[in-house]
């Protein structure tokens, strides 16, 4: 009951999904669409579980006065404020207005968006420090990586005089030819890895995700 039933469910649904791929008939499509819809709906319940975990971890931090517990208060404050606005509890709970709530939209525009965009822009600094790291590495592989990176990075640079057009050509060749070959080799391997892992899951060989007892 605790393990055999879930494993047989995995098998049944897995095999069904494989078979339905070969059946173009409408009834197979119909079940397929149902199953995908179900996954989305279950996901919402899971989200409640996630929020619960976030609240519990933050609360524990505050309760036991762990390091930086004050900041967990900020998390909880942001969370509850956004939930109240999102469900628009104070004004009109009954309509799907939550997402249009004034404060909800403004929290999104002036808190989420700026932080998100800034986090993303940190990549510019990190890519520079990563390039420096690659520069220091003294192995053939690291040098190959670095040279290819430099050629592509400098491809539109006019400062190299007569070699500039060659640089550009080499860069576009690198991006088109070896790139294609390597990606294909990786993709074939990944494809096989995914198929084999999925097969192991369906056959109940790979079952770490189900836990024990």
């Amino acid at each position: 009951m605790k393990r055999q039933l879930p494993l047989s469910l995995v098998f049944i649904f897995g095999v069904f999904m494989i078979i339905q791929y070969f059946v173009p008939h409408e009834s197979s499509e119909w079940i397929f669409e149902f199953l995908l819809d179900w996954i989305y709906i279950i996901g919402i319940f899971a989200l409640a579980l996630g929020i619960w975990s976030l609240i519990r971890v933050s609360w524990d931090k505050i309760k036991y006065r762990k390091d930086n517990w004050q900041y967990s208060l900020v998390t909880l404050l942001g969370l509850f404020a956004m939930i109240v606005f999102g469900f628009d509890y104070l004004r009109n709970f009954q309509t799907a207005e939550g997402l249009q709530n004034f404060m909800f939209v403004h929290f999104f525009d002036y808190i989420m968006i700026p932080i998100q965009a800034t986090m993303f822009s940190l990549l510019a600094f990190f890519i520079a420090s990563a390039a420096y790291r690659a520069f220091r590495a003294r192995s053939i592989l690291a040098s190959l990586l670095l040279i290819a990176a430099l050629i592509v990075m400098l491809r539109f640079n006019p400062y190299f005089g007569p070699i500039s057009p060659y640089l550009e050509k080499t860069a576009s060749w690198l991006l088109n030819v070896p790139n294609l070959a390597a990606k294909r080799a990786i993709v074939i391997g990944v494809g096989l890895g995914i198929v084999a892992t999925a097969l192991k899951v369906i056959l109940g060989i790979e079952r770490a995700y189900l836990g024990k007892d």
């Binding site: 390091d67 990563a130 990586l145």
Partner: protein, 514 residues
Amino acid sequence: MMHKLLIVMCLLFIAGAGYVSAEEIPDSLKPALPSDITIYPDSGGNVAVIYWFPSADDGAGKNIVTGYALYRSPSPKGSFEVIDTVPPGPNRYIDFLPIDTTVVDSGAPFSPAPVTEVTLADKDNDHGHAVIVKWKTSADDIAGSPSNRVLAYNVFRAESQSGPYLMRGQSASGDTQYDDVGSKEREARDYMPDYTDYYYIIRTKTIEYHPGHKDYFYIVRSITDNPDNYRETSPLQFDGTIYTDSQVYGPVQCFGQWFNSGLIPVLIFVICFTAITVFMIFRARRGAELFVRRLAGIEAVDEAIGRATEMGKPILYVLGLGTAAEIATIASFTILGRVAKKVAEYQTGLIVPCYDPIVMTVAQETVKASYMDAGRPDSYDENMVYFVTQSQFAYVAAVNGVMLRELPATNIYMGKFFAESLILAETGALAGSIQIAGTDEIAQIPFFVVACDYTLIGEELYAASAYLGREPVLLGSLKAQDYAKAAVMIIAIVGFITINLNWDWFVNLFRVAN
């Protein structure tokens, strides 16, 4: 005096403002346009048939459409005159054109030969709702020639022999096939039910006009109770050129198939691969020695756990942004299980922040099971595996915080990663942690390669779970993957030879139809 002037000015201002605001009805309040408007000639070009599907605000949506007004003009920029207003609902309107009868028809008018040998068949390997129409081109269609007088073929369909026939689409001159694909959705505008008789007419269109005939332009307007609140199409061309209809063909029915024969190559691969995997697993179970070479990234995992224990610092395990349904995440669960078991044995700390709530649930199960396996169920703490948020960069911000505050000895990244890969890996490197990464997301591998000590590239991520466990069944499937790769290389060489000899049949074995 001043007061009166002021009052008059105010009144004028209010009236003006009211006028301006009446002029400018916001776009969101205007009715939607009807869709799928088709206009084509009938009765030898003497009438124009205008067909449309109701506006989204007709009986639904804002439900404000009270009808449709039709306008016509001989030129797209000319003055459009209203020809009629029709009630809401789906419509097929017939407009009698003002043919100029004063123009004398000199000589016999040109009339292209109709298409012949029309065949109608249900589209194969599909879910139904589609018919394939094939024909032999008109004798006047000299494809490729500059003097070709045939412009295109229009395909018309009806549910009874006598019509009404609705235009389904157009093929260029020289074409001999049209795939009439309808929708399976009952409420869709081009719903095409299965097991229904359909009749077809194929029209050969030319580039010439009968004397007195010409093109017209139509505007269709969705109207409401308020005469100022409407929306109209841009001018739509009616093509008044000469045409010849074929005879009526049919009936034909469409229906879905129970097996897609175009996917046979995929089926063969699935069966072969499953067979090899199962066979290898059986061999492994019977005790056959299966060799796998060592993989630096995987051996580093064990070392890293040892190092963390010595330093008395925790291990950070990041499962990436994939959902629990992603196979990379499932492979990562297995690796997490092995890591957690070692961690439990060594009594090291483990931190697993999660991006997806279902992933969190599964990861909790996995880690708990590992602690039980290691015989230390009491050391398991539910808060080791926790949910952060489902927002990519908020998650990154939080994990970065963990790296700098908890200073983990080792960071392990396994699963699906996107733009955040470099932020995570660089922060970890700057914090001085040993880092091991594995992902099948090709675009992110370079960043991990640069910033991490060990990187599992692509398939190595999937192999890692088998390696870490050294369980015969898992190794068996790894062997099956190798056999499949060997097969790929042989197929590639054979394919390579055959394509250079122009033997297309072999290559076609690997072309999968839709």
